[in-house]
């Protein structure tokens, strides 16, 4: 007796009788006959009525359920899905950090470098523009009009009046003050402030080579204008040259050697702690005015405001 193949099985289940399997086909036909027994009509009517009533009593499900609870659940599921992976955690952390940084930047409470980066560093741009303007003036002034600046003390004393009278140079800002407080490198090498300034510009993404060249010129001019090198001839901007010319016209000599000024002060008060000398000095100041000192050098009278100082070159 061979096994049933696939074709014989399909024929038997389909109600046909393959060769040699007539008994099997007759058996399956009897199974179908036994299964086709009908239900008692009374029982059938009872079942039909119960089914129809069950349909009528069952509420019809809505095709699109609208529920805020479900939307909340779905939103909660989305966030849970985001936070379930490591990439989701990193992403959510980055978004939260960016939001906090943006808020702090808008409030202006970030540390200076970060706040400068967020604000676009407008202060540095403004200073750079001023330096460029000064560099242009420095290039345009005549070569023959050069003034020796020898007295560094007078320059430092008179320096606060320069912007007030020039009208073109603004008040010393934060970076200029920082610049003046930095030790000067006569060799032209960039000092610490220059390095910091270059670093700031580097963070701004600019090409700092051309700008630093102009800034170097302005730096050297400022350094020599303050009398850092007595032997170096430098040019003074035109505005200061005009002021110097006005000072000559008014009979005021601008430059007073430092040793002479020291000698003058020593003549007035050799001992600063001597009350008699201090009284004489006060009387002399009252006779000449509260802020004027008269000196004579090489047949030229020079008068100068002590507090304002060198503002009248």
């Amino acid at each position: 007796m061979s096994d049933l193949n696939k074709k014989d099985i399909e024929a038997l289940l389909g109600g046909r009788a393959p060769d040699g399997l007539e008994q099997m086909a007759a058996l399956l036909a009897r199974v179908r006959q036994e299964a086709s027994a009908s239900v008692d009509p009374a029982v059938a009517s009872r079942h039909i009525a119960a089914a129809a009533n069950a349909v009528r009593e069952t509420p019809v499900p809505s095709p699109v359920p609208v529920s805020t609870t479900r939307r909340t659940w779905r939103r909660r599921t989305v966030f849970a899905g985001l936070l379930s992976t490591i990439f989701g955690k990193v992403f959510m952390g980055a978004v939260a950090l960016a939001a906090v940084t943006a808020g702090a930047g808008a409030a202006g409470v970030l540390p200076d470098p970060v706040q400068g980066f967020v604000d676009g560093n407008e202060e540095i741009h403004r200073i750079a523009n001023e330096i460029r303007e000064q560099a242009v003036l420095h290039e345009q002034e005549p070569a023959g009009d050069q003034v020796h600046l020898r007295d560094q003390d007078q320059l430092q004393v008179n320096q606060p009046e320069q912007p007030a009278e020039s009208g073109q140079i603004s008040e010393p800002n934060q970076f200029q003050n920082q610049f003046q407080n930095q030790p000067v490198e006569p060799s032209g090498e960039p000092n610490q402030f220059q390095h910091e300034f270059q670093h700031h510009l580097g963070t701004m993404g600019e090409d700092t080579s051309g700008f630093l060249l102009q800034y170097q010129n302005w730096f050297q001019w400022q350094w020599m204008y303050q009398g850092g090198d007595e032997t170096t001839d430098t040019t003074v901007p035109q505005m200061h040259q005009q002021e110097h010319q006005q000072g000559i016209d008014q009979g005021a000599n601008t430059t007073v050697p430092q040793n002479q000024q020291q000698a003058q002060q020593q003549g007035l008060s050799e001992d600063p702690e001597d009350p008699i000398d201090q009284q004489q000095q006060q009387q002399q100041q009252q006779s000449t005015g509260p802020s004027t000192t008269t000196t004579t050098e090489a047949g030229t009278d020079s008068s100068q405001d002590v507090p304002g100082g060198f503002g009248q070159p």
Partner: protein
């Protein structure tokens, strides 16, 4: 019943029309009853009523054609049979209530098959394993495909094919062993 007729009947049945339910019941109750009886259900007609009641409760969610509807009804019937068999296994029948003819069998399916002893077919089906009997009855009585039977019994189609092949082989050997010269096609008169 073609697809167009079934669609209209289904919509009416979902609305609770009793004529539609009468149509569906007359069309499907016979095979379901035969399947339940062949599977050895104690009260097959009551189970038929429970099957249609369950179908009526869930008819609003049904989507599909007539073949899917037949497969769905047999799925419900299959689950009902399994539940009833588990229930009777946990709660054995009181011996006082068991008929004398059923005493000594010790198997609920054998008891059910004994009640259907009018046919030699039941005796032959009793030689099969429950899985083989499920597959063969659903294939023959329910007229379902291999995939539909696989979905009902929770097996893969390949496993269903293997079960039906083994079941048919066993029936063939049983026929040749029990009645080597007898003709199984001869139907006894009831």
């Amino acid at each position: 019943m073609d697809q167009a007729q079934f669609t209209s009947v289904l919509e009416a049945a979902q609305a609770g029309a009793e004529w539609a339910w009468s149509r569906l019941y007359n069309d499907m109750a016979g095979p379901v009853l035969g399947y339940l009886r062949s599977r050895g259900a104690a009260e097959p007609e009551d189970l038929v009523g429970e099957v249609f009641l369950q179908v009526a409760r869930n008819l609003g969610t049904f989507r599909g054609d007539y073949a899917a509807f037949r497969s769905w009804i047999f799925t419900v019937a299959h689950h009902r049979v399994v539940d009833e068999r588990r229930y009777r296994t946990r709660r054995p029948v009181d011996p006082g209530e068991v008929p004398e003819s059923a005493l000594g069998m010790g198997d609920t399916e054998a008891e059910a098959l004994e009640q259907l002893a009018t046919s030699e077919v039941i005796a032959l089906l009793a030689t099969l394993t429950p899985e083989q009997r499920d597959v063969l009855l659903l294939r023959v009585v329910g007229d379902l495909s291999v995939d539909e039977v696989a979905a009902i019994v929770g097996r893969r189609p390949g496993a269903v094919k293997a079960l039906q092949r083994r079941g048919l082989e066993k029936l063939r050997r049983a026929i040749n062993t029990v009645t080597p010269e007898a003709d199984p096609t001869v139907t006894r008169s009831r």
